[in-house]
Structure formats: structure tokens, C-alpha cells
Symmetry: C2
Subunit: 154 residues, 2 copies
């Protein structure tokens, strides 16, 4: 729903008054999010990861033994929709499912060595992208922006 900067000048986009929409926080937040995520998707495709895949693997990396239920709660994914993601990461040998130490129903998720190696690269790619995507912001502005965004959703 956003015309990202990298799209062609597209003559038809010119001469339209979008000033009202640009006063709306939701519109601005959504367009900024889409602009960044568009590039994020491109870069992550190198690893065969979608945005959600990256989020899942990243949480598993920083929370060894995390359960599907916890991933769903933190990433707003519905359980049925996470099943395929986990299965896919498992098939690719990126994660391992181990029995949960205290709850027989649950399964603890862990990165495999190759999953860990890949995520180190992927997180570095994400870090590089962060710099690029926010290249027109000073470090102070970048910090401010994140703080204000978190004031909205946290």
C-alpha cells in the first residue's frame, strides 16, 4: 500500500494530493514499515527466509528451548500457521525439536549448528540493512524513532 522510493517515478503518481493521508500516523507507519520490509525480504531471500521465518529463528536463537506457543504469543502468529514454518525450518536442518524438560505436551526449539551459523550471517545482513534503510537519519534520530515507535505499540 506504499509507493516505495525505489519504484519507478511512475508519471501517474505525480500531481496527486496525498497531504491528508500523510497527516495520519497509521499511513506513515505503514508506508515506512513496507519500505523497509520490502528491502528486508530481498536480502533475506538469499537465505531462503521470509520475514516471519527470520523472526522465528531469531527468537529461537536468543531463547533456546522456546516453545511454539511462546513464539505464537510474541509474534502474533496463530498456532496452525506456525506449524508449517517450524516443519520447514526443521526439514532444512536449521532447528531441532527436543522434548520439553517439564511439559510433556510441549516441544523445545533449538538452533542446530548450521542454523546458528546461518542466523549469524542473517543477523549481520539485517544489521547492514538497518544502516542503509535509515541512511537519511542521524544516529540520534534513529534512536528517537525507535523510542517513539515503541511508545505506540509497547
Amino acid at each position: 500500500m506504499a509507493t516505495s522510493r525505489k519504484s519507478p517515478p511512475s508519471s501517474a503518481a505525480e500531481g496527486v494530493d496525498t497531504r491528508y493521508l500523510e497527516t495520519l500516523m497509521g499511513y506513515n507507519a505503514r508506508r515506512a514499515a513496507l519500505a523497509i520490509i520490502e528491502v528486508f525480504m530481498e536480502r533475506m531471500s538469499v537465505y531462503g527466509l521470509k520475514v516471519v521465518d527470520f523472526s522465528v529463528l531469531s527468537l529461537v536463537a536468543h531463547n533456546p528451548g522456546i516453545t511454539s506457543r511462546q513464539l505464537c504469543a510474541n509474534l502474533d502468529i496463530l498456532p496452525p500457521n506456525l506449524v508449517g514454518i517450524i516443519a520447514s525450518m526443521d526439514r532444512r536442518g536449521l532447528i531441532e525439536r527436543r522434548p520439553h524438560p517439564s511439559d510433556g505436551r510441549a516441544v523445545g526449539l533449538h538452533l542446530t549448528p548450521s542454523g546458528l551459523t546461518m542466523m549469524k550471517d542473517a543477523e549481520q545482513t539485517a544489521a547492514d540493512l538497518e544502516i542503509e534503510a535509515t541512511s537519511r537519519l542521524s544516529p540520534a534520530e534513529r534512536k528517537t524513532l525507535i523510542r517513539l515507535l515503541q511508545k505506540i505499540y509497547l
Copy 2:
């Protein structure tokens, strides 16, 4: 992909380290956008409008005679996906399609009187929502946030 503030405390969401993801601009922008848009959707359902419907009608309101092509270019909607939206707004008597004055292929879009009346209410609802959604931001912070977001996508 965001656990909005209004969701239940959800015990499973606790105890998970999300600090890394929270350093990523894309993650923060997306969660903030989803948090606002979630409420936006609820409020607009009163008018039977989805988020994209609102954007379309708002651009038509502020740009009488705008074409489908221009709407697509400015809102990043693909032409085939706009057809149904326009048709629906037309059936509801909110917009009118008039022959384009200088291009026989194109159709100029205009709000009908009832469409205009509804959009006045809808835009007021959106304005009220803006205040609520950003209630933890000072007016200065709100202004800064919008400026920084536009620095990313514009």
C-alpha cells in the same frame, strides 16, 4: 506479527527475550503500524470500510477526477485488485465514474454527495483515532515521529 497491547497478558508471551528484534527498525515500524491499523480497522468497520477503502475514498475526496491508474500508483495497489474496490464503492453509491475529459480510456472518479457525507464522518473518526493511538506522545513527539517516518519512505 505484533502482539498488540490490547491482547490478553498471555502468560506464554512472558519470559521471552525479544530485545534483539526490538533493535530492528523494520520490526518496530511494523508493530507500531499494526497496532494503529488494528484499531483503525475496528473504527472503520462502522462505515463498512477497510483500510484500503478509506485510503481510496480519501484520495478521491481530495483529488476529484482521479483515475484508477493514479490511485494504484499512489497506494501501491495493483490494477486488478483495485477493480473490485471501485466497483464496490460504486455499487454503494459512494463514488461516481465519469468519462475522463481528455482521455477516452480513462475514467474520472468523484465522490457522490452521500460519499462525501460519509467521508467527512470517517475522516473525523480517523482524526479522533490519531489522538488516541498516539496518546502517549506529546504533540511535539507526534510531529517528530511523522517527520522521521517520512524520512524513511519518502
